[in-house]
């Protein structure tokens, strides 16, 4: 449709008013850049969070204190006891593999002059197998450690590295929040589990953590491992039944605990992502519209300015469609050029953001590059069509007289 001559003419037209053309391009660069960076940020965050949720395991059920229903009656905010974990595991052996009760708090680990801040996790012997979390040196907690309130600790990979580096650590005595613990093992590097950084944890027996360390009655969290992902719903029912009985909740009253699965997390994430998406895409959309208006404005000025030229072109045999094409080509060149630069700009911005913040992970899906280019072309056509139509409808006699 656009033969070379008309494209060349359009190029020359733009070159003539280089600064103006570049300013019009800038609008598209910012608009497309905003879209690309918005998508990259959103996509990166979503992927990052999804990855974390994937690590939770589809066959696990997480139980927290609290209530997710609006209730008229006061519900005790903390309710999960260490014995609940045993009960759940005992009563539902057919469907539940293991239950891992957890209590965690902040703490400082000290070895002579070296020290590190870490999450102090109280756990039982079922914790490591549930996450396929393996010991790199020494051993993990045993049932006896937990029963005996032993003052023993297993270091996460990062903590061990921070304090001991390459030196042997098993058998050494460290101070955790001022209390002496014997190191019995170091865990392998594992990364994140949900939002917990496993490698920055120090694991001590649950009983020790809840008793001597933090003096708490209730658990933070209870993780239940079902026999399979398919049996998770059944598993939840059984967990609820056991817990309601244990907590002596009468029929009709609300649970005093919350049950979560990977699926539920994903759904919630979806909703959050949707909200962020709406906000980010709205901003990006507005910038695109502003860019389009910029092009349209420039094109209208250009048409008015070149009224005589249009008259001449018609006089020497340009069809109205030829005039339309020329101006549409100019608008499209602006928008495509702006689109291409905008993609680079958006990609750079999103990378810079992730570089600067260190927490924001961004990802630019290849498809968005194609989509952004397509969008840029659309912007060119949409914003160029009206000025182009105006140009093509000029009365040549009037146009030739135009001053």
């Amino acid at each position: 449709m656009f033969h070379l001559q008309i494209l060349l003419m359009a190029f020359r037209g733009l070159k003539q008013n280089l600064v103006r053309s570049l300013l019009a391009t800038l609008g598209v660069i910012i608009g497309v850049g905003a879209v690309v960076s918005a998508v990259s940020i959103l996509e990166g965050a979503q992927r990052n969070i999804l990855d974390r949720f994937e690590s939770l395991g589809a066959d696990q059920v997480l139980i927290f204190n609290g209530s997710d229903r609006k209730s008229h009656r006061q519900v005790q905010t903390s309710s999960l006891l260490p014995k609940d974990s045993d009960l759940i595991a005992e009563e539902n052996k057919d469907i539940i593999v293991a239950a891992a009760p957890q209590y965690s708090g902040a703490g400082q680990v000290k070895f002579y002059e070296k020290n590190a801040f870490a999450t102090i996790l109280g756990a039982t012997e079922s914790y490591a197998p549930m996450y396929q979390y393996k010991v790199a040196q020494g051993r993990f907690l045993t049932r006896e450690d937990v029963r005996g309130n032993a003052m023993v600790a297993v270091l996460g990979y990062k903590v061990a590295n921070e304090i001991f580096g390459a030196l042997p650590s098993v058998g050494k005595t460290v101070k955790i929040n001022g209390k002496s613990f014997i190191l019995i093992g170091v865990m392998e590097e594992k990364g994140a589990y949900g939002f917990i950084e496993l490698d920055s944890q120090v694991i001590i027996p649950l009983s020790t953590a809840m008793g001597r360390m933090f003096g708490q009655r209730y658990l933070n969290m209870l993780v239940v491992q079902c026999t399979s992902a398919a049996r998770v719903p059944a598993c939840i029912e059984r967990v609820k039944k056991t817990l309601r009985a244990s907590h002596q909740i009468s029929a009709g009253d609300d649970d005093d605990f919350i049950v979560f699965t990977q699926d539920q997390f994903k759904q919630q994430l979806g909703q959050v992502a949707l909200i962020f998406g709406v906000v980010l895409y709205s901003i990006a959309g507005i910038s695109i519209i502003v860019g389009a208006i910029g092009i349209m404005n420039i094109m209208l000025v250009s048409v008015t300015e070149r009224t005589r030229e249009i008259g001449v072109r018609i006089a020497v045999g340009a069809r109205r469609f030829d005039i339309l094409k020329q101006f549409l080509a100019e608008a499209s060149i602006i928008s495509m050029f702006g689109g291409a630069l905008g993609i680079v700009f958006g990609w750079a911005i999103s990378n810079l953001l992730s570089e600067l913040t260190q927490v924001l992970e961004t990802y630019t899906p290849p498809i968005i590059i194609a989509l952004a280019l397509l969008m840029a072309i659309m912007v060119g056509i949409v914003s160029g069509i009206y000025p182009a139509i105006r140009a093509s409808r000029l009365d040549p006699v009037q146009a030739l007289r135009y001053e």
Partner: protein, 304 residues
């Protein structure tokens, strides 16, 4: 070449109707050189725009180059303008941001013809601007600009050239050079219609049409006798000066002519045009048909 019957053009200005053309009948034979004169608002420009397929009559029939253009659509009109008609304007109407060459190329963009560049080069050579093709209009004199405009008008080898006050923005001497080019084109068999209000330009045509209030009030053939008569009647200094010049030229022989080498002659007598000692070719009343042109013998039209 041109046939117009009962041509009317009305403009609505608020409640009143302006009759720009009030029933014009006109026949112009192929190869004629016609001038149209008339006061502002006499309808001469409107007539030219309609004959040039830029405007449509309110009523009446127009035939140009064998086609009934009053019945054609926009696209067909564009084709006729492109192929058969060349326009020359008072203000040149060149595209200032591009070179002379690109300006001449513009009609060919819409023709999509092969060898367009050669055609554009030839047309520029023909108006004596072969060496100025890379210059922009801002770097050229008015006369040169108008010559570029003429090159643009002839690049598609039209059969009809419509010139609207082609010398109106030029000094007398440059205007004469431009008219000279028209004479040469006319000699090649191109039909030429010049709208002007300068009497010394108008009398160079073979036929003078005078318009008033949207009507043709005078339509006379111009021979030497008539030309002398008109010029005698004219009183302004400008015209008298022309008369003296014309008289001086009449005694010069038609010298320095070489036979045409087929196709376009390549030049109108070299670069600036100011070295043309004798404008001997000025024979405005000569009959239409191929005629020798005074281009220098050293320019080989085949080579370029």
């Amino acid at each position: 070449m041109i046939e117009a019957a009962q041509l009317r053009k009305e403009y609505h200005m608020g409640d009143s109707v302006v009759h720009a053309l009030a029933g014009v009948d006109l026949r112009i034979q192929p190869g004629e050189f016609v001038s149209i004169t008339g006061a502002s608002g006499s309808g001469k420009s409107t007539l030219m725009h309609i004959l040039g397929c830029l405007d449509r009559p309110t009523s009446g029939i127009v035939r140009v180059a064998g086609e009934t253009v009053s019945a054609l659509n926009d696209k067909q009109l564009a084709r006729i303008r492109n192929q058969h008609i060349g326009f020359v304007f008072q203000t040149f109407n060149l595209i200032n941001r591009t070179t002379a060459f690109d300006n001449v190329l513009v009609p060919l963009v819409y023709t999509r013809r092969a060898f367009a560049k050669k055609a554009a080069r030839d047309a520029l050579e023909r108006v004596g601007l072969g060496k100025r093709s890379k210059h922009r209009p801002s770097e050229m004199s008015g006369g040169e600009c108008q010559r570029v405009a003429i090159a643009r008008a002839i690049v598609n080898k039209p059969r009809l050239i419509l010139a609207d006050e082609p010398t109106g923005n030029l000094d007398t001497r440059t205007g004469e050079q431009i008219m000279q080019i028209f004479h040469e084109l006319h000699a090649d068999g191109i039909t030429i219609l010049v709208v002007t209000h300068e009497m010394d330009v108008a009398v160079q045509a073979q036929r003078m049409i005078h318009m008033k209030d949207g009507n043709i009030v005078e339509d006379t053939a111009v021979d030497d006798h008539r030309r002398e008569q008109i010029l005698t009647q004219a009183h302004d200094v400008h015209t008298r000066a022309f008369r003296q010049k014309a008289a001086a030229k009449a005694i010069l022989p038609a010298a320095a002519r070489v036979p045409e080498v087929g196709g376009w002659p390549t030049s109108f007598g070299g670069g600036g045009g100011d070295d043309r000692g004798h404008d001997a070719e000025r024979e405005s009343s000569s009959p239409p048909g191929p005629k020798d042109l005074g281009y220098p013998a050293e320019v080989d039209p085949v080579r370029e």
